[in-house]
Amino acid sequence: MPNSRQPLQSTAEASTPLVSLRRGAGQLFETERRLNAVLNNASVSIFLMDDRQHCIYMNRAAEQLTGWTLEEVLARDCPLHDIVHHTYPDGRPFPLHECAIDRAFPENNQERGEEVFVHRDGHFYPVGFTASPIRDDAANIIGTIIEVRDISEEKAAAERQRLLINELNHRVKNTLATVQSIAAQTFRGPPDPAARGVFDARMAALSTAHNVLVEDNWESASLRSVIERALAPHLLAEVDLNRFQLQGPDARLHPKVAVTLAMALHELMTNAAKYGALAVPDGQVILTWSLHDLDDGRQQLNLRWEECGGPPVVTPTRKGFGSRLIERQLPMEFDGSAEITYAPAGVICELQIPLTTLGWVGQESIEGRQAL
């Protein structure tokens, strides 16, 4: 480097009046006051470095970012890198010569990038920086000005998005698999023109269950909403309270429980409409449920579906999709029990479902980051 250049001063006296060179005293004072007002109210952190990479000025945002005051940094009398950037996040030492910010000075170009700084209290935080050379009248580089932004929130948002997309992918795949299975069950056996209508109704039931989940960001579903929507004749209608008596407390259901329960109720309702209480004008369904505490801290849902006022019940000769889903799959999926009784006065279905704890993989880290 040429000897003729004037290095920036790195003493405390020189740094406080940042721009106090070559100006008349009154004008100088006014300019300095304005610049300090600008610098100390800026939300971006600004560091001014001399040719030895010592920090000779930092604004208020920079003090807050690093945890160090300008006076403390000046007193250390060492490269800024050794104060705020001395360790890699994996714990290895980070020598000055490996630092991209440092290279902005000798390589004479604007350097942008992302690094991870170490706060005074020891925690790491990601930053975005822009480092530009400062020149004297003869265009010699005499220092560096570095702008730094804390990008923790941007990083956390990107991670949240990644986790949410993974979770979405998982749920879309699950839903497609469910649709595949319903199609396979519905169209099994010899061709039946009515199967298409049955399939459409099952798709509508699945779609409705998902609507209930979306109301709570797919984290849980209201038990009462799942029941009411499953029993409504179509999307825009309310449950017909002349036909259904509903009684029981609300609860938050895990999405898996919500979807399987909604499909089970849909099958019970379809059966009742075709053969049971809902096939005649005066028939009714009484649906009662309660919640009980289990020893392991979870709750168990006990739900009873009872039809009355319908035609005499005949035990079906073969078991279809609905009874298989309810009596076999549902107990296996949730470690519960289920029983359908074809009592002459009306079908009775009793379900005991231990409620799966709410939450999904990745959710905790997302909510942890939101707390930042």
Binding site: H170, L176, A177, T178, S181, Q185, F321, L325, Q329, D335
Partner: protein, 151 residues
């Protein structure tokens, strides 16, 4: 009659509707099927039951089916993983296990299970099912039937 007729298969799959589908596919292949939808039940079956083959869904709610895989390794029961995420979604120690890409389809399921029955018992090193997802790396002469899903 195929090689699969009468074979006892442990099916581990945690979604009610999806389990029905896979069970029906296995029944259509002539297998006897035992379904487990929760990790504890699957472990109990793998520990005490006697199976010729097993089909393991990798994700069981918030847990994975790897402990079941460990038991099957110990007992020398050939098995495959069913997953919608492919081999890269598996933990390193299980990457030698054959993978059935979800959604379940009858032809690849039949193909992989047949390969498993003909092969050596699985090991972590992959001398059994081999590293290929469908066993199509074997020579034409060894293949017992037409492979139409991955030519």
């Amino acid at each position: 009659m195929t090689l699969l007729a009468g074979r006892r298969v442990l099916l581990v799959e945690d979604e009610s509707l999806v389990a029905m589908l896979a069970e029906d596919m296995l029944l259509d292949l002539g297998c006897e099927v035992v379904v487990a939808m929760r990790l504890d039940k699957a472990l109990a079956q793998a520990r005490t039951g006697s199976f010729d083959l097993a089909v393991l869904d990798v994700n069981l709610g918030d847990t994975r089916s790897y402990p079941v895989a460990d038991l099957l390794f110990e007992r020398g029961t050939p098995f495959l993983f069913a997953t919608g995420y492919g081999r890269q979604g598996l933990e390193e120690a299980y990457k030698a296990v054959p993978v059935l890409q979800k959604p379940y389809q009858a032809a690849p399921l039949k193909h992989l299970l047949t390969r498993l029955l003909m092969g050596e018992p699985p090991t972590r090193e992959g001398t059994g099912g081999g590293p290929m997802p469908c066993g199509c790396h074997i020579s034409r002469e060894q293949q017992p039937f037409q492979v139409d899903h991955c030519s």
